[in-house]
Amino acid sequence: MSDSLEHSFVKQLRENQNIIHKICRLYTNDDDAHKDLFQEITIQLWKAFPKFRGDSKFSTWAYRVALNTAITLYRKTKRSINTVEFEGRQHFLNDVEYDYEEEEKLKLMYKAVYQLNDIEKALIFMYLEDKDYHEISETLGISEVNARVKMNRIKGKLKKILNPLGI
């Protein structure tokens, strides 16, 4: 493949890497696995890049390939345990907004999200990224109505994890 194609790819990926990092964070439990998945996604993106026409944004195109890699193509090198050490994870609200109660809630939320299965994580990811149901349904290959139904179920599931007694 030509150098200019390679250059264009590398530049765009560097600019849009956060979307890939977010997916890696969602699907892996530690830094090594994060890097490993990031690398596999990069390889898959590069392989698919000659077919990228530029009629959609690079980020829109990239997150789809990244999700597919995380859910389907990626072969975990290590067996992962489904619990994540959350205490070490920093939260991203800045000091002005710092709120102890909110921080606790966020921790619980992230923990709950990590307990979802691969497909549910993909749905939540797209929800958090403000994707509409049309795009969600196209990305996963399910109908729009069912994507909506499933999303509501996931929200219910999260609610239950956060508040098991339903108080």
């Binding site: 390679e6 560097r14 956060n18």
Partner: protein, 210 residues
């Protein structure tokens, strides 16, 4: 749900929290080898096709037929072999066709279906070969019984004794079942480990779309 809005806000602010990968690192990454399951399936598939093609090419029955003085049967076996080659070529073509369709840019469901379809092509190829092995065994036994003069003595013994007949048939059946069982186990272990997650996720996706 208030918590979800909070999470969304936090999520969308999280961009600054990742250690950034440099262009240099990305250059290095794209020249590394992929370790995706598609690649593993490709490797296993090529090995399987090679193994079975190798076995079918070298399981030569001609010498045996010459040995027992029935050269007229060779023609039938030649035809059998040519049909076998044609089928191998068709299988390899189908595998290649399915393999090149696999693309990470399609929808998740389609990607999974394409991978499973490619995988299934090889599986059919292996089952076809196993069937052929069994068929060859049956033919070989039949030929041995009907044409091989050395078998006359054994035949007489078996015919004279119903229990010996039953034991022979039982033994052949048991060997076949054991043979197939071993293959099934091998498949479960190799592809089960490789595809467990894919099957689970595919099932989940199908469940959503019921």
């Amino acid at each position: 749900m208030k918590e979800l809005d909070l999470l969304k806000k936090d999520w969308q602010k999280s961009d600054n929290s990742f250690a950034q990968v440099s262009e240099n690192d990305i250059y290095k990454m794209i020249h590394r080898k992929s370790s995706s399951i598609v690649k593993w399936i490709l490797i296993f598939s090529i090995l399987e096709v090679l193994l079975w093609t190798f076995l079918s090419l070298f399981s030569n029955i001609d010498n045996y037929l010459k040995e027992i003085n029935h050269i007229e049967l060779i023609l039938y076996f030649d035809i059998f072999n040519y049909v076998n080659y044609a089928i191998i070529i068709v299988f390899i073509y189908l595998f290649y066709k399915n393999y090149v369709v696999i693309s990470a840019t399609t929808s998740t469901k389609k990607l999974m279906q394409d991978i499973l379809k490619t995988r299934r092509t090889v599986q059919y190829y292996v089952w076809y070969n196993l069937g052929m092995v069994l068929l060859s065994c049956i033919i070989a036994f039949t030929i041995a019984f009907v044409y091989n003069p050395e078998m006359e003595l054994v035949k007489d013994k078996i015919a004279a004794n119903n229990i010996a007949m039953l034991i022979t048939i039982g033994f052949l059946l048991l060997t076949s079942i054991l043979f197939i069982g071993l293959f099934w186990l091998f498949y479960k272990v190799v592809y089960g480990t490789l595809l467990r997650r894919l099957y689970a996720n595919y099932k989940e996706l199908k469940k959503i779309d019921l």
